[in-house]
């Protein structure tokens, strides 16, 4: 499915994070592309390759798709994507994988914990939850988001807006503070412990690098979240996106097909869960 | 090396009359020599595609093999004369490498004319023109077709 790049936004100071806003080249594709929060798609640059990227826009954002892509020096596709400019066409295959089960969570309180660059599908989720049609369906929503430094924080404008909203608690933290940073300093697991959101009637959605997940799970359990109420999204290298190529196996699960969203009880005993 | 990502940048055809020659020229001597040949209006065949490298020692044998695969009819590597290397010994180490490479490729059956090595200094515009003339005519005179180009053939379904 070809899509046109409408807008490219730089997300950080290091200039290796960009958000691509895409529009559909064909109306049929647009009507056929129905996705949910937490899903991903295979984004391809012809002749270069394909990469699984989480969808950062909300299903309620009509007519567009947004992907936030980090460029790695060794990443062929991510580098190629970053070299593109507005107006170029790229390929999108998807949506793929399962999603955060937001319908099932209606009426519950939600704690959303994100770290670093893994915030993209969480942003999709938060945008969805905050929409006029959805906000009333859910209880209290707490967002804890951390990054290595202030320059690494994604979606700064939105974060500022969220922090001003009364129907949402947003805590933004950075690992390493700087002179210009006015906000909180501290690692996500510690901030989580300090803020101690109630586990009562609540589910937690947590996404982040493996090392963050590793240290976030114990405090969550302490706070009273049972493993089946902790949802996380895994990231793996993928080729097919259909549970065949074998690359994204985590135990018997294929992250592309059975995931990327897993409840913690499903994967906590698998040695290669990565955390 | 980005262009290497694109395959078949050069001609695929074996019957092409004008061969394409990829020339790796060292920045300090041979490239300057080529420049001088140009400035002096010396005539030499337009078959070369020059790739400037810091030193002949920088040329990995893979570059040469890859150039042949991508369709070059010949590859030329030229650097400073022994003793004149900008990096003192780059070309001397390269000399050993190329001696073995040339012998090895010839052993595999690739015509020695297709892979040539030479020394051209910055003041030798005439020598550069003569070198290109020689390499081009060597390759034009070859009776055997190009051996190994990126083919469509997918091997090994038969076993």
């Amino acid at each position: 499915m070809p899509m046109r790049i409408e807008q490219i936004r730089l997300e950080n100071d290091a200039k290796d994070l960009k958000t691509f806003r895409l529009s559909f080249c064909n109306k049929d594709d647009e009507n056929g592309f129905n996705y949910k929060c937490g899903q991903f798609a295979m984004v391809s640059v012809p002749g270069i390759g394909e990469s699984p990227i989480g969808i950062a826009s909300s299903p309620l954002d009509k007519g567009i798709l947004e992907f936030t892509v980090k460029r790695y020096p060794t990443g062929v596709v991510t580098t190629a994507l970053h070299d593109l400019s507005e107006g170029d066409t790229i390929g999108v295959r998807g949506p793929m994988g399962n999603s955060f089960p937001l319908e099932d969570l209606m009426g519950k309180n939600l704690v959303i914990v994100g770290g670093g660059f893994a915030f993209t599908t969480l942003r999709s989720t938060i945008r969805y939850l905050l929409s006029d049609s959805q906000r009333k369906n859910y209880g209290a929503v707490t967002v804890i988001y951390g990054a290595r430094s202030a320059g690494e924080l994604l979606y700064k404008n939105e974060l500022a807006q969220w922090q001003e909203r009364s129907d949402l608690t947003t805590i933004v933290t950075v690992d390493k503070g700087s002179d210009s940073w006015q906000g909180r300093v501290g690692l996500v697991p510690n901030v989580l412990k300090e803020s101690a959101p109630s586990a009562l009637d609540a589910y937690c959605i947590v996404c982040g690098p493996p090392i963050m997940l590793k240290f976030t799970m114990p405090p969550l359990l302490e706070l009273g979240f049972t493993p089946d109420k902790i949802l996380t999204s895994l990231e793996r290298k993928m080729t097919c996106g259909m549970g065949k190529c074998g690359r994204c196996n985590v135990g018997k699960y294929y992250v592309c097909k059975d995931g990327p969203v897993f409840s913690y009880d499903k994967i906590k005993d698998i040695p290669e869960n990565g955390f | 090396m980005a262009s290497l990502q694109g395959r078949r940048i050069l001609s695929k055809s074996n019957t092409l009359k004008e061969p394409t020659i990829v020339a790796f020229l060292c920045n300090w001597c041979s490239y300057a020599g080529a420049d001088l040949a140009g400035v002096s209006r010396l005539q030499y065949p337009a078959n070369v595609r020059v790739i400037r490298v810091p030193c002949s020692g920088r040329v990995d044998p893979l570059y040469i093999v890859k150039a042949l695969q991508e369709g070059a009819d010949g590859v030329l590597v030229s650097g400073c004369h022994p003793g004149d290397c900008h990096y003192i010994s780059g070309n001397l180490v390269a000399r050993r490498k190329f001696a073995m490479l040339k012998s090895f490729l010839e052993y595999l059956g690739i015509e020695p004319q297709r892979v040539q090595f030479s020394w051209v200094s910055a003041s030798e515009g005439g020598r550069f023109a003569a070198l290109i003339q020689k390499v081009v005519s060597d390759i034009k005179n070859l009776k055997t077709p190009k051996k190994f180009v990126a083919t469509e053939r997918l091997c090994n379904a038969d076993y």
Binding site: S44, I48, S51, Y72, R236, K244, E272 | Q5, Y159
Partner: protein, 320 residues
């Protein structure tokens, strides 16, 4: 037989014993062979295929070719492996069109084993066996002076009907002989069953066990590329002039770079983790996902491992 389809069968090849090659009037069929070095899966799921091309801004998928093919005389273990691959590539959730077009056009006639192909055969342990029928449309028995054919599927039945002129009804003695052959071959094969392995797995989460069994693993792909059920693949995009094409290539979970992500994170960075993935995929994940043991006991990986690692021993260590 060769007239209306491309027929492939065992033909002699000096170096390899027998290869699965095109049959014609001039090539001699080699019925008395051990097994092919390369698994027949390569006929249905080739090591390298072009799946789409890109030119002038549009992608065109490769037209499905469906040359009718008869795979004659492949071993029952390899036929069983094809049945396993069918579950992966033709499963309910996502059908692989490239595999399907080849599979639909292929008729499999397996050849029962008169004796184990090698000392490493253990098909009897994995639920296959010297005359197992899964995956085959028809089965042939080499009775020395005659070939006994038995149809297994409708497709196989139709094929035998079509060539009825060449065949005659088998005598009771011949049927008897085939049964005898099967039980005689079975006697030469190991008796231990691995069918319960998925339930017996005990130490699979103990990294020390995997470190031990994989200590001499060189992380090459010989085991996976020769395995009749391994089906991991990779896509490879390459530019061609102004356009591009996408290839599908076999890949091996034993390669260090297999699961390496662009970020540098590698969930299976150690040989032991990769070994675990391969063995567990065959003996635990596949049984859970497809209800089949994804090892057919052909012994190829044991024969060809440069470090002579034996999957039978690995499994027994894990269930110990």
């Amino acid at each position: 037989m060769a007239k209306d389809a491309e027929a492939l069968g065992p033909i002699a090849d000096g170096e390899h014993g027998a290869v699965l090659g095109p049959l014609s009037d001039t090539t001699a069929l080699m019925l008395d062979y051990g097994n092919f070095k390369l698994p027949p899966k390569r006929r249905l799921f080739p090591q390298c295929e072009v799946i789409s091309t890109y030119a002038d801004g549009c992608v065109s998928e490769t037209k499905q070719r469906s040359v009718k093919t008869v795979l004659f005389g492949i071993r029952p273990c390899d036929a069983q492996a094809i049945a396993h691959l069918d579950k992966v590539f033709l499963g309910d959730d996502a059908i692989d069109p490239y595999y399907k077009s080849r599979r639909d056009a292929t008729l499999v006639i397996s050849l029962a084993c008169r004796r184990p192909a090698s000392t490493e055969c253990f098909c009897s342990s994995t639920g296959a066996g010297p005359a197992s029928k899964a995956g085959a449309d028809a089965m042939a028995w080499n009775l020395g002076t005659s070939l006994l054919f038995e149809s297994i599927t409708v497709k196989g039945e139709a094929f035998l009907k079509k060539h009825a002129a060449l065949l005659r009804e088998a005598t009771p003695e011949e049927l008897q002989a085939s049964k005898k052959q099967e039980s005689a071959t079975l006697k030469e094969l190991p008796t231990k069953s691995l069918a319960d392995v998925p339930k017996l797995l005990k130490n699979q989460n103990d990294p020390a066990i995997w470190e031990e069994v994989s200590s001499t693993c060189l992380s090459c792909g010989a085991c996976t590329y020769l395995c009749p059920t391994c089906h991991c693949f990779d896509f490879y995009d390459e530019k061609q002039g102004d356009g591009a094409r996408k290839l599908r290539l076999h890949d091996a979970c034993m390669f260090e770079s297999f699961a390496l992500e662009a970020s540098g994170h590698n969930p299976r960075a150690r040989a032991s983790q990769r070994m675990r993935q391969r063995v567990m995929h065959k003996f635990s994940y596949a049984p859970e996902n497809y209800n089949e043991l994804f090892c057919v006991g052909c012994g190829r990986c044991i024969i060809h491992c440069p470090s002579s690692i034996d999957i039978r021993e690995t499994v027994s260590k894990v269930i110990l």
